[in-house]
Amino acid sequence: MVNSDSQKEVLLEVKDVTMNFTRYEVGVDSLKELVVRAFKRDLKREKFVCLKDISFTVHRGEAVAVIGRNGVGKSTLLKIVSGILKPTKGYARCYGRISPLLQLGAGFDGNATGMENIYLNAAILGYTKKEIDEKLQSILDFAELGEFIYSPVKTYSSGMLARLGFSIAINMESEIMLIDEILAVGDMAFQQKCYNKLEELRAKGLTFLIVSHSDVVEKLCDRAIWIERGHMIADGDAKTVFQEYTQTMMQPSETGKS
């Protein structure tokens, strides 16, 4: 199952990625506070290693799940891969068009109609008007919003927003999809539809990098990467890694040693 063969084209290359965050111990976010604390010599900085020497490559057509407990840096990894954050050390290179689905409907404008938001959102994701025009019908069909598409999105329910966001992201053509635990939205029927769509795209040969724990993802992916405290501790066949992960999580005393 694991695509270890080197003939396959490398689409994503993550090499020695290390991410440090520098934080003031107490959040300093105003000038007043900075000045006052500088005078009191109360500016303790704290270096916080989020990711340490993460390296992996993803080949065309692979579906990789990233698992690990909350707060171990999975989302940060996805942000680095998508180019939102720059790693302190190392690099992440993409050799293809990337579509980050980190939050559905990021940047929706409440006052604009659904239709206007399709254009705005897709343009933010990096598409031209022509490309959006071509995909418009499939976006509308998938979102199933009917006449609501001409109403301002502030009148939408959260489920409808998620539908629209997902529909835009999934229908725009890209080679790599980055998905960050966004699938737990909408009603059951829509969730099922999303998974079906993902499988369909998967069959088409799209590459996935998904942060999630759900069983469905386990079935969708053929490879899993397990991150614990910023380190990569397993990379291999999805079933095996998920099993190990579940076992470790069941025995909390063991996790400290890993």
């Binding site: 965050f21 976010d29 105003s30 000038l31 007043k32 900075l34 942000k79 998508s82 180019g83 939102i84 954050l85 720059k86 690099y91 992440a92 290179r93 993409c94 050799y95 293809g96 068009r97 990337i98 980050p100 980190l102 939050q103 990021a106 940047g107 404008d109 006052n111 604009a112 206007e116 254009y119 705005l120 343009a123 933010i124 994701l125 990096g126 598409y127 031209t128 008007k129």
Partner: protein, 267 residues
């Protein structure tokens, strides 16, 4: 603002996104109002009437070569480009934090969109100015000059200046959230330190007059009024106007580029 990914951002696509953002800004600005876009013309017009009414008695119009209502309005709409750009840009990165954290959109687009929205608003205000000029023309208080078309030479300088300042402020606001209060005070001071309602001669203070020369907005406002009177500004004025504009733009651009990586982590 290129990214590390090999997928180089296409300039045409970025231009399209910029256009959408500007349109959104303009729409949202007047979204709730009944007469909508007409406000962009009415607003400066009504403001001017109030100012002219208040200040004509306070300062008197002697020593001003330009008709007083036109003097006030012209100063205000030029100053307004910078004011609208910066007050719109200051919180724009923080307001869009959702988008900046979740998509790899170029960060500079948001302040840029605010500056261009301010330019569009200026366009409407300019119509208001023309209306006032027409009225004053028929009242015999003003004569049109061809030099007014030279405004297109002045605008790039103000835009560069506004862009630079907007880049700088929007980035700084991510780190210091109390900047909003500080800047609103600074802006008030700046408004009064620019001869919008009065003339420098009326100050009767040489020291302030010299100090005023360090204020870029003074030069922009003066340039515009010169055109309305019918004088073509000197080469020196051009150098000053563009000098301030380019310098501010470079400062803002460099600052935004250096802190760009910290911004996504900081939001």
């Amino acid at each position: 603002m290129e990214k590390d990914t090999i997928y180089a951002k296409r300039p045409m696509q970025q231009l399209y996104l910029l256009r959408l953002l500007v349109r959104r800004n303009i729409k949202n600005q007047y979204y709730r109002s009944f007469i909508g876009i007409l406000w962009t013309v009415l607003n400066p017009l009504l403001n001017m009437i109030v100012m002219a009414f208040v200040f004509i008695n306070l300062f008197g119009s002697e020593g001003i070569a330009l008709d007083y209502p036109i003097y006030v309005l012209s100063g205000n709409i030029i100053f307004g480009i910078m004011r609208a750009s910066t007050t719109g840009s200051l919180p724009c990165l923080v307001e869009q934090q959702d988008m900046l954290q979740k998509t790899n959109v170029s960060i500079g687009l948001f302040p840029t969109a605010n500056v261009f929205s301010a330019l569009v608003t200026f366009g409407f205000s300019f119509i208001a100015l023309l209306i006032v000029m027409l009225f004053r023309f028929f009242a015999g208080a003003y004569a049109f000059t061809w030099e007014i078309i030279l405004t297109v030479i002045l605008l790039p300088a103000i835009l560069l200046f506004s862009l630079g300042l907007s880049y700088f402020l929007s980035a700084l606001y991510v780190f210091f959230r109390d900047l909003k209060h500080i800047y609103s005070v600074v802006l008030t001071l700046w408004t009064y330190l620019t001869p919008l309602f009065y003339t420098i001669d009326a100050l009767k203070n040489d020291y302030i007059g010299k100090f005023m020369r360090l204020n870029p907005m003074y030069h922009y406002v003066n340039y515009f009024r010169d055109l309305l009177i019918g004088t073509v500004p000197t080469l020196e004025t051009h150098i000053i106007c563009y000098g301030f504009g380019i310098a501010m733009f470079v400062i803002g651009y460099v600052f935004l580029s250096t802190v760009r990586n910290q911004i996504a982590a900081r939001l």
